[in-house]
Amino acid sequence: MPDVLQVQNLRKEFGDLIAVDDVSFAIGEGESLAIVGESGSGKTTIAKMIVGLERPTGGRIVACGHDRSAPVRSAKKRRERGREVQIVFQDPYTSLDPRHSAEAAIEEVLRVHHGWDKGRRRARVAELADLVGLDERQRAVPPRALSGGQRQRVAIARALAAEPRILILDESVAALDVSIQAQVLNLLADIRDATGISYLLISHDLAVVRQLAERVIVMRGGAVVEQGPTGDVLDHPQHPYTRLLRESVPRPGWKPQRRVSALPVSDRGACPVPVW
């Protein structure tokens, strides 16, 4: 399984704050890797550096064999990068152009990235809309006429239109209703089976991670504290922080814990998250 994405010794500083500290991982073709951790752990900053919305302070990012640690100048090069990595954000209410229908949003990506003629673009829009389960009405209306789940499917179809090798899902199913979330997770698994796409899944929901990702990285305060096959990490967490995350998930007979008593002092460490 050749690696489609390699991240080596990645580092990001915002002033005095080290948001990402020496993070390395690789994702193979058709593989899914999850990054879990809480707000401020650096997981979204990593996603932003991979797609080029933030510039790394140090380290290296290679996607499909091309180094993308530094920004490119030309539109042509940027589009090439767009065909390697796409991202779907958490909030489908703010990530779509309010004036564009699903069809227009998907078609724009096809025009920019593939330069196909109108007939071919139209056929592909219909295929992608079918793939994510948008009906005729939903394709034609602006985002304000769609529910959150429908909007998120538009965002996924739009990201897939560029035919990326890697799709970053940044809390992309977190805001969805449970019944819709299951539909979208099944859809993502189908798309991976059909296209061999790789996923980088950023999530705080360990059950979603178990369902979609084979490997997981646990981050805290910008650094990786544990990583491994998802089943091993969730069933036999080694690091105290991973154990705390695992124990914070509600289950029958669950006794919620106050954090300070739950984590030994030595493990609270140099963490930018306030520990009351």
Partner: protein, 326 residues
């Protein structure tokens, strides 16, 4: 009013413009119990809590009754309403949207005590300080501004200020949803402790069936503006009474294993205003639906210690629980 209930909601219907948001909600909250109220977006769970709190949006029309003890909550005005707000308090999902950003935490916390109950400033501050330490916050936070506090800290401020009037019922609308999982656990731990210390009841609203099952004594499940099931929480996953509850539990990914495929519920959740008046609203998505389900509206009836709004509920007894087949 049945003996032993703290608060009862009967036949609550709410419409806003043309939209029927609630279509006849029945609920009973017992003293000192934690009652979960679970549902997807548009099911009407928040609107139910707002109706109980007398915080309905302008222009909302309501029918039905809400009673606290012997009193009809809908008739409260002026001083009676202020007294009621001391007895039934509410905390919201997004504390930052409900705390005045330009006032200090201490001013926010003591406002209700001073204006509604005429408590002197010094005493109000003492009580606020005491309550802050009960939720695990340093009393120095009284002189801080909301932007200086994290989301988890602000939610503790909200809870502390809601409890200052010693309410008999706390309405908590997704209080932990916007928080990190470990912070969520803390907030839930604090709510559980304070519920014990204060002898109060808690209506805990969440979209998370697992969380409700873990922290609530009983759970009511809502769909399309109605309660479709009420069940002891420990039986919610293993022995549910309504096909929707069973389908919701089965659709969630499992932290303990990777499933070949999730058992998604087809279609999307209906809001109350989209639901048919003369049929089961869940029938089009229900694997157990029979032709009768599309022809009449089921009643919420007593069944095996709980309640279910399903025509086939008795027939389906014992077959709906989460099984290890998938």
């Amino acid at each position: 009013m049945a003996i032993g209930n703290l608060l009862e909601v009967k036949g609550l219907q709410i419409s806003i413009g043309d939209a029927n948001v609630l279509r006849g909600v029945d609920l009973a909250i017992r003293p000192r119990e934690v009652l979960g109220l679970v549902g997807e977006s548009g099911s009407g769970k928040s609107m139910t809590a707002r109706a109980i709190a007398r915080l309905l949006p302008r222009g909302a029309r309501s029918e039905g009754t809400i009673t606290l003890g012997d009193a009809d909550v809908g008739t409260f005005e002026g001083s009676a309403l202020r007294r009621y707000r001391g007895q039934v308090a509410m905390v919201f999902q997004d504390p930052r949207a409900h705390i005045n950003p330009v006032r200090r935490v201490g001013d926010f916390m003591t406002e209700a005590l001073r204006t509604n109950q005429g408590v002197q400033k010094a005493e109000a501050y003492d009580r606020a300080a005491d309550m802050l330490s009960q939720v695990g916050l340093d009393t120095r936070n009284l002189s801080r501004y909301p932007h200086e506090l994290s989301g988890g800290m602000l939610q503790r401020v909200m809870i502390a200020s809601a409890l200052l009037t010693r309410p008999r019922l706390l309405l908590a609308d997704e209080p932990s949803t916007a928080l990190d999982v470990t912070t969520q656990a803390e907030v839930m731990a604090i709510l559980a402790e304070l519920r014990n210390d204060f002898d109060m009841a808690l209506l805990f609203i969440t979209h998370d069936l697992e969380l409700a099952a873990a922290v609530c004594d009983r759970t009511a499940v809502m769909y399309a503006g109605q309660v479709v099931e009420v069940r002891d929480s420990e039986l919610l996953h293993t022995d549910p009474l309504h096909p929707y509850t069973a389908a919701l539990a089965a659709a969630r990914p499992d932290i303990g294993r990777t499933q070949p495929r999730l058992r998604a519920i087809p279609g999307r959740p209906l809001s109350g205003s989209e639901a048919p008046a003369d049929a089961c609203a869940f029938a089009p998505r229900c694997v157990h639906a029979a032709s009768a389900c599309g022809q009449m509206m089921p009643e919420l009836v007593e069944l095996d210690g709980g309640r279910s709004r399903c025509l086939r509920a008795a027939e389906l007894r014992g077959t709906l629980g989460v099984t290890a087949d998938a």
